[in-house]
């Protein structure tokens, strides 16, 4: 499946110039893979122009009293849908300065949408269900990916040469929850960057007051 997608990307995106693939492997100090880390790359020569499009749905589903996915990467200007697939109502909000918003109580199979114009991290919560938490990372670069269960985020088609790599995680212990580093991508072939991060504990979710 993944191989198929890569093939597709290759066919579509890397026609005009030569491009490289970057695998960002995120681990913690103990060497364990860290999922849900967002790697974004800003090549020094600039990104290719044109609207940014990612091949995953721009939606934040609420199901089983949880948000899905935990981290969603969307391009700036994207309209994200918030479908409710639970039997209960939700009240999604965000106080993140990047884009505070509030979706007042809405029920099952109701879908609301929010347009995110500015890059940044938006923490989502449900005012009813404290345990529900999710993040939408609004990016302004086409080179963005989320680490999987193996901790690897694959960035494709980036131009070779110098670039700035951002690794963000909602609980990353660092200013702005991200690590920024400058890397040099090879002219051809794949590159691999290992980023060791330290995570804070997730906020307590099961406390009751």
């Amino acid at each position: 499946m993944r191989g198929l997608a890569l093939l597709f990307l290759f066919l579509l995106g890397s026609l005009p110039a030569r491009a490289a693939d970057l695998a960002v492997e995120v681990r913690n100090a103990q060497g364990k893979p860290v999922p849900d880390a967002v790697a974004t790359l800003y090549p020094a020569q600039g990104a290719r122009s044109g609207p940014i499009h990612f091949d995953w749905p721009m939606e934040m589903v609420q199901q089983d009293l949880q948000f899905h996915p935990f981290v969603l990467i969307v391009p700036a200007g994207a309209v994200v849908a918030f479908p409710n697939r639970d039997d209960v109502r939700h009240h999604v909000y965000s106080f993140s300065p990047a884009h505070p918003f509030e979706l007042k109580l809405y029920g099952r199979d109701e879908t609301r949408t929010v347009r995110f114009d500015h890059p940044g991290a938006i923490a989502l919560g449900c005012n009813i269900h404290d345990n529900m938490i999710a993040f939408i990372k609004v990016v302004d670069t086409p080179y963005a990916a989320k680490s999987g269960a193996d901790g690897v985020a694959s960035l494709r088609g980036a131009p070779p040469g110098q670039a700035v790599l951002h690794v963000w995680h909602p609980y990353l212990r660092a200013a702005g929850n991200e690590i920024v580093r400058t890397i040099t991508l090879p002219r051809a072939g794949g590159a691999r960057e290992i980023v060791v991060v330290e995570l804070r504990n997730p906020p307590p979710r099961d406390q009751s007051y």
Partner: protein, 776 residues
């Protein structure tokens, strides 16, 4: 063990000491038990209180957390934070601060800036503390804010990520501690201790002194290091104090804090003070009562003992005594026994006294008694008569011991009956003493004569009648200058005098009887007189009736004493016999008589010399042998006249010596025949040459037919045995004629001549020769 003079003190001190010891022991045990119990109780209570405090602490923290959590979840509050609406945030914090009654409420933003309710000492929170507060989750613990310990809770504000923290702080001040203290069952002190940078522990209230804080700090450090939270007893300003430390969760790990629970032991002991006081008071009261009680008991014990002691002392001094018997116990029985003993001693003493003062045979008072009576009774008109029972030994031999005693008793009783005023005592076996009063000596003589006459009546003893003959010696009070002053002694001497003089009665005559000491000196003087040649021999002529001439003389000793004058022969010869001085006297007489005989012979007079030899000398070999030697030089015939004033103790020896004298050519004459102990047995045993009839027969011969008959018979008897007969005491021509008619051989007496000194004898003999007369 000290010695006590008094039983009472001993008992009291012993009891009091024992009781005090027991009381002290009980007090110690009570105190120790109480003290241990209190300590244990306090420790338990401290542990329990610690547990309670933990719980309370947790509840408070939970309460604070609850409040902070609610605020952190409040959508509006979060919205205000999101929109950075500081005024709203501050008012919300104020609102909760008032509602929850907490001291501080503030918010820490995710970027680290602080928004606080009014008056919060925001700047006082150290960076380290801030880091602790900005935790991922809820944090609670003690935090020093502005130098004061606070209980702080920090809750993150999640929206849904951490936007900041709500921080609530409750000051752990004195009021808080007091509230905590009230929760405890015991009124303990609670305080929060914190350690400053220099490692010193101090309490937030500053109630602990420096030294106290150091000691407690040491304990806390040790407890922290070893994680042993057991209570301990420390010495503090309040005295021994039970303390327990509980570590407190702190938000700043570099500033540890601890909860100190303390409880002064004095306070813990306080409820028991009345008990301890009661024990002490009871002990002292008991001790006082015991001292009083044992004193009283000892007194009641010792009082009868003291009485016994005093009574025993009185008894020792010979007083009559009796102890009151008040109790029936051992002491009472002892007192009874003592009384019985004292009575028995008294009775025995009276009996002994009676025995000492009375004669056991007759129960008459004795010599001693009479002497005492005399000493007690004064007066010049007192007389003592010594009544001597004649021939008592014979009487006793005849009627037996008992009856003889009875006889004396009967005589005494008779005297008593007749003379109520007189006191009668038995002075010796055969002598009764009678003490009586009389006007003068003549009256006393009359009394004695009357008494003697009455008593010489035959006495009936049972079936027997006994004839009694008495000799009486009378004594009156001594005249001034007289040596023998005891009336009894004087009476006895008078009795002896009378007996010696063969009289029925005699009055004491000082001139005749000296006292024994004087008698001894008389003997010594006699020896001196013999040595000095002061003794003189007188000679009484013996007239031969048939020849009509004086053929012999009897040598009689005379003692012209240089100071006493002529000492009567009776006075010193019998004494010389008694005291053993008769031998030198006799030896001198023999020497002198033989010398005089030689002198007479040289003057042409050949006379037989008769010398008196005491019967006492006849068994003395030491006398016989030298005497025989003396006799060897005799110029003429010598005759030994053996007087029988005393019993010859060894008749065999005596007869042997007489034989030896006879063998030497000495004539032997039996003197004073008819009186004393001379008997026919004598005549049979002693081979005598001559028999001298006692003058008492010769005196009475002229008037008494009977005596004349006796003399005649004796003369015949003597002649029949081949003895010459000499009659003594020839004082009348009638007697001489009678004797001549009876065939008597020799006569001696005043009719012929009194005893004459040697020169007068020479004169007398010259006249005799010239006259050659016949008496009658």
């Amino acid at each position: 063990m000290p010695t006590f003079r008094r039983l009472r003190t001993k008992l009291t001190i012993l009891y009091a000491g024992l009781f005090a010891g027991v009381v002290l022991l009980i007090s110690l045990v009570v105190y120790t038990a109480v003290s241990n119990n209190v300590t244990r109780l306090v420790r338990e209570e401290l542990v329990a209180s610690g547990t309670v405090f933990d719980r309370v602490w947790a509840l408070r923290a939970a309460q604070l957390e609850n409040g902070a959590g609610l605020l952190s979840r409040d959508f509006g509050f979060r919205e205000a934070i999101a929109s950075n609406d500081q005024a709203t945030i501050r008012s919300a914090l104020d609102n909760l601060k008032v509602r929850l009654g907490i001291d501080q409420a503030l918010m820490i933003g995710a970027d680290g800036h602080l928004i606080a309710a009014d008056g919060a000492p925001v700047g006082a929170i150290s960076p380290g503390a801030l880091q602790a507060l900005e935790g991922d989750g809820t944090a609670s613990g003690v935090l020093m804010i502005g130098g004061a310990p606070h209980e702080v809770v920090s809750v993150p504000i999640l929206a849904p990520t951490v936007m900041g923290w709500v921080v609530f702080a409750a000051k752990l001040d004195h009021a808080q501690m007091t509230a905590l203290e009230r929760l405890s069952a015991i009124p303990l002190d609670a305080s929060v201790l914190d350690r400053d940078a220099s490692g010193r522990w101090s309490d937030a209230d500053g109630r602990l002194g420096a030294g106290e804080a150091r000691r407690i700090g040491g304990y806390v450090d040790q407890a922290m290091a070893t994680h042993s939270w057991a209570p301990q007893v420390l010495s503090t300003a309040d005295g021994p104090t039970a303390v327990m430390v509980k570590p407190l969760t702190v938000l700043a790990p570099d500033a540890p804090a601890a909860l100190l629970l303390s409880y002064p032991m004095s306070r813990a002991m306080a409820p028991y003070q009345p008990l301890l006081y009661a024990v002490v008071v009871t002990a002292l009261t008991g001790l006082a009562l015991l001292v009083l009680g044992s004193w009283a008991l000892a007194r009641s014990l010792t009082r009868p003992i003291l009485a016994l002691d005093e009574a025993a002392t009185r008894l020792k001094n010979g007083e009559r005594t009796e102890v009151a018997v008040v109790t029936g116990d051992e002491i009472g029985r002892l007192a009874e026994s003592f009384n019985a003993m004292a009575a028995e001693i008294g009775k025995r003493e009276r009996r002994i006294t009676h025995l000492a003062l009375h004669d056991p045979d007759t129960d008459l008072p004795n010599h001693q008694w009479l002497q005492r009576r005399l000493e007690r009774t004064g007066g010049d008109d007192l007389f003592v008569a010594a009544l001597g029972v004649d021939r008592y030994a014979h009487v006793r031999g005849a009627i037996g011991y008992d009856l003889a005693g009875e006889l004396v008793g009967e005589i005494g009783a008779t005297v008593r009956r007749a003379h109520r005023d007189a006191r009668v005592a038995r002075l010796s076996t055969d002598v009764l003493g009678v003490l009586f009063r009389a006007r003068d000596l003549a009256a006393a003589r009359a009394v004695v004569a009357e008494m003697q006459a009455r008593l010489e009546a035959p006495v009936r003893l049972g079936d027997n009648t006994v004839d009694v003959s008495l000799t009486v010696g009378l004594a009156s009070h001594p005249l001034p200058g007289e040596r023998v002053t005891s009336l009894i002694e004087r009476a006895n001497i008078a009795l002896d005098l009378a007996r010696a003089g063969r009289q029925k009665f005699a009055v004491f005559d000082e001139s005749l009887y000296g006292d024994p000491a004087k008698n001894l000196s008389l003997m010594s003087e006699m020896r001196q007189s013999i040595a000095a040649g002061q003794m003189v021999l007188h000679y009484q002529p013996k007239y031969d009736l048939r020849l009509g001439a004086v053929t012999g003389v009897e040598a009689l000793v005379r003692w012209p004493h240089p100071t006493r004058g002529l000492v009567p022969p009776d006075a010193f010869i019998s004494m010389a016999e008694e005291t053993g001085h008769i031998r030198p006297l006799t030896e001198w007489v023999i020497d002198q008589a033989l010398a005089d005989q030689r002198a007479l012979q040289e003057g042409g007079l050949d006379l037989e010399v008769a010398i008196n030899i005491s019967g006492r000398l006849l068994d003395d070999d030491g006398f016989a042998t030298p005497t025989l030697a003396r006799l060897a030089g005799a110029a003429g015939a010598v005759c030994f006249e053996i007087t029988e004033t005393a019993v010859i103790e060894q008749p065999d020896v005596a007869l042997g010596i007489i034989e030896r004298f006879a063998g030497a050519g000495v004539k032997v004459a039996i003197d004073d025949y008819g009186t004393g102990l001379s008997s026919l047995a004598y005549l049979k045993q002693i081979r005598a040459n001559e028999l001298k009839i006692d003058k008492s027969f010769v005196f009475a011969m002229a008037s008494s037919q009977r005596d004349a008959l006796l003399v005649r018979s004796t003369v015949d008897l003597a002649h029949g045995l081949g003895l010459q007969v000499t009659a003594e005491g020839v004082e009348s021509p009638t007697a001489l004629a009678l004797l001549s008619g009876m065939g008597c051989d020799l006569a001696q007496g005043y009719l012929i001549a009194r005893p004459l000194p040697l020169n007068e004898l020479l004169t007398f003999m010259a006249e005799e020769e010239r006259a050659l007369r016949t008496y009658g």
